[in-house]
């Protein structure tokens, strides 16, 4: 399957380069962003919690329409976020799009290749700095250690957009898998994992509705993802499977001077073995955030957000984690709540600066999630600040 995806990607790149060379007018867009950040009291960015310049995001994209039915689109990015996700260059998306149906009211498109995750409020452009409300997104839903898996899939996406008497609709479906790098595996399972983690299957569905001529948007999204782990040499972990299921609900309300976004989720995680033979866990986590943005002037936007996450809704205090680990894992690995204050300052039409401060309680969304690092994350309360300058074209 991996070989097939690599070959398909190479074929798509070759086709893309060929058509670009013949194109009379090719649109190139992109972004460059550099920042400085510090997560004091946790390993969120650096192991030692020190000041870091690992806040680099660079991307370039292009699209070329062959005719009214087919279109190529692709984006390459270079990212460095410290411990948050894998550092390096990668193909963010690269697909061939086919217009399956097009009328004045409805259109249906199919994308084949590496697609973006169009299902969550900020997932489609979470790596594009100027499209985000803040440098660091709410970790309850936009969990950085899980970022590469949640970014999109190699496979098929169906995108439907339309209008009827009730309003405007976006209906999305995607099916595929994501490659899991060794660093991504370490973020999820810990550095002691010597085996191979594979993303076997990922299905997502979402519906967004905007009542006719209103400024409110309501969305729901469903996720079902399956993973398998194959034990490596001298491995403390064993063969096993993991299944993640998410139900998400969001509301976006926009006015001339402010915007309110709410996104909530319930996440079921089923684990069979992996940690040790015959281990079984089936828990429901819950989380979500409420975010307000106030447009103080044309150039200045203020942000305030509360983000809450509980790993197990039956054990919100984390007491069970502590007792099951015989006291080695503190309670605060059972939750992670975060308050954020930030500002966005528009320096010009294509350039802006974002600055923010986060105060966090708990460590449930800090990597690695399966085998918590109680040495580096020995604080129940910790902080993050970040300042990033971004330019786009």
């Amino acid at each position: 399957m991996d070989q097939l995806i690599i070959r398909l990607s190479i074929l798509l790149v070759a086709c893309f380069v060929t058509v670009l060379s013949d194109a009379r007018e090719v649109k190139i867009n992109g972004f460059i962003a550099q920042g400085v950040t510090q997560a004091d009291g946790s390993n969120f960015v650096e192991d030692d919690g020190g000041i870091s310049f690992k806040l680099t995001e660079v991307g370039v994209n292009s699209t070329y329409r062959l005719n009214s039915t087919f279109r190529f689109a692709g984006q390459a990015v270079y990212l460095d976020g410290g411990n948050r996700y894998q550092q390096g260059a990668r193909v963010d998306y690269l697909f061939l799009e086919s217009q399956l149906y097009d009328s004045e009211q409805w259109s249906i498109k199919a994308q084949l290749g590496r697609n973006k995750n169009y299902h969550w409020l900020y997932s489609a452009t979470r790596d594009v700095p100027h499209t985000r409300p803040s440098v660091i997104l709410p970790q309850s839903l936009y969990f950085d250690a899980f970022r590469d898996v949640a970014l999109g899939v190699d496979g098929l996406a169906l995108v439907t957009q339309g209008n009827n008497s009730l309003g405007e609709w976006d209906i999305n479906f995607s099916l595929g898998t994501s490659p899991i790098s060794s660093e991504q595996k370490n973020n999820l399972l810990g550095r002691s994992a010597k085996g191979k983690l594979k993303h076997d299957n990922d299905k997502q569905f979402s519906v967004y509705w905007r009542p006719s001529l209103s400024n409110i948007q309501i969305g729901v999204a469903l996720l079902d993802a399956e993973f398998s782990y194959k034990q490596g040499d001298n491995d403390t972990l064993v063969n096993g499977n993991e299944n993640s299921q998410r139900f998400m609900f969001n509301i976006l309300y926009q006015q001339p001077n402010y915007e309110i976004a709410i996104e909530l989720m319930r996440e079921r995680i089923i684990v069979d073995s992996i940690l040790f033979p015959n281990f079984h866990s089936d828990i429901f986590g819950e989380g979500g955030y409420v975010q307000g943005q106030y447009f103080l002037s044309r150039d200045l936007t203020l942000l305030a957000r509360i983000d809450i996450y509980d790993r197990d809704r039956e054990n919100r205090s984390g007491r069970l984690i502590n007792s099951m680990s015989q006291g080695t894992i503190p309670n605060y690995f059972g939750f992670m709540d975060q308050g954020t204050l930030g500002l966005t300052w528009s320096l010009s039409e294509k350039m802006q600066l974002q600055a923010e401060y986060h105060r966090a309680k708990g460590a449930a969304r800090l990597a690695p999630t399966f085998t918590p690092d109680t040495v580096l994350n020995d604080n129940k309360y910790w902080t993050v600040w970040a300042v990033q300058v971004m330019y786009w074209f």
Binding site: T63, P211, P256
Partner: protein, 146 residues
């Protein structure tokens, strides 16, 4: 019964800020090749948010807009579409940076807007009402509330 009343009042409250009359300071213009004399506000929203990319005769739509900070764009966006300029920016950013679609073509001023619409079959854009347009290749498309 009570539920539907509450819901209808809630939706009405949400819609208050976007209900505008047809008296606007901006007009939609198209290339003379476009066989259309009027469109609804909903259709105008679909076209300028790039959700509708072809005309009823299946020819491609080419959308021209000005920078978000341009006064003409602000008037057009808020009065004619009932959308705040930042909402359109976000829609277009998502299209461009997620591969979902293409953004409109940006022009610097009214004269360039007029030239582009005039010279591009299937083109659509907007201009302020107070401009005297004497160009056989462009025509007004009236936007109705519908």
């Amino acid at each position: 019964m009570l539920k539907s009343f509450v819901l209808s009042q809630f939706l009405f409250f949400l819609m208050i800020p976007v209900v505008y009359g047809l008296e606007t300071d901006a007009q939609v213009f198209v290339n003379a090749s476009v066989k259309l004399d009027d469109m609804t506000k909903i259709q105008a929203r679909r076209i300028f948010s790039m959700r509708q990319t072809s005309w009823p005769d299946h020819s491609l739509i080419t959308v021209y807009v000005m920078e978000s900070s341009h006064q003409t764009h602000k008037v057009f966006s808020t009065q004619l579409l009932g959308l705040f300029p930042y909402q359109l920016d976000r829609i277009w950013n998502k299209l461009v940076y997620s591969g979902l679609g293409e953004e409109p073509i940006k022009v610097k001023n009214e004269q360039e807007m007029l030239d582009k619409i005039s010279n591009t079959p299937g083109a659509i854009g907007y201009l302020l009402n107070n401009l005297q347009i004497d160009n056989a290749n462009v025509k007004i498309v009236f936007v109705t509330e519908g």
